[in-house]
């Protein structure tokens, strides 16, 4: 999942308008923000699989994406914002952990319970529906946006340009579509 994570961030923003949007949007992507440097440092491994959905195999992502480490990153990230209040800190932590929960649906079983655990989880929508996953994620984005839009009409402190926000997220989703992936 890619753009869907940002859509989840909109829902959290709607629930906790006081939480800065940049904090929530950074939070929802934090596990993949860590994944990049971890691969470059050799802590994690990925193999490209052109032509085989989803185009890559996440061989070892236990330090950024395992259940335990997702919770650790969530707590650490949330703690950074305790000065802004407990509610904001909890929202930031939930944003981080939402990434793991959503990835469980998309990833094949490459999400370890903890680093180097033998048990891995993942429903594998990417593999079960090599193209259909994109529409499932689009539907998820739509549901999240409807909630965000409705809340933004009630709470005027965010989302006054909700359609522009949606346009950006849909653009990101289109860029991440199976039709544009490297062959």
């Amino acid at each position: 999942m890619y753009a869907g994570h940002f859509a989840a961030g909109l829902v959290i923003k709607s629930k906790v308008p006081r939480a800065p949007t940049w904090v929530l949007m950074t939070g929802v992507g934090l596990l993949d923000i860590l994944f990049g440097p971890f691969v470059l440092l050799g802590l994690e491994r990925v193999t490209l699989t052109p032509g085989v959905p989803p185009g890559f195999s996440l061989d070892y992502i236990d330090w950024s994406h395992s259940l335990l480490m997702s919770l650790v990153w969530a707590v650490l990230f949330g703690a950074l914002f305790l000065r802004r209040g407990r509610t904001v800190a909890v929202a930031a932590a939930i944003a981080v952990f939402s990434h793991f929960l959503l990835d469980v649906f998309m990833h094949p079983a490459d999400l370890a319970l903890w680093p180097n655990a033998s048990v891995h989880v993942g429903f594998g929508l990417w593999k079960i529906l090599p193209v259909g996953w994109w529409f499932v994620e689009l539907g998820f984005i739509g549901v999240c946006f409807v909630y965000y839009y409705q809340r933004s009409r009630v709470v005027s402190t965010f989302g006054q340009r909700a359609w522009a926000v949606l346009a950006v997220i849909v653009f990101l989703h289109v860029v991440n579509s199976p039709w544009l992936m490297p062959k």
């Binding site: 949007t21 940049w22 950074t26 934090l30 994944f35 990049g36 006054q160 990101l172 991440n176």
Partner: protein
Amino acid sequence: MTPTTMAILTFLSFVLPVPILAWLDRSPKDRAD
């Protein structure tokens, strides 16, 4: 594409949208402040 390229692209793809989305989400009142 190589794993290194994918790592860099993944990093950028989750970092670059953050300021754009945060800016678009701000209310007119916030921007005036």
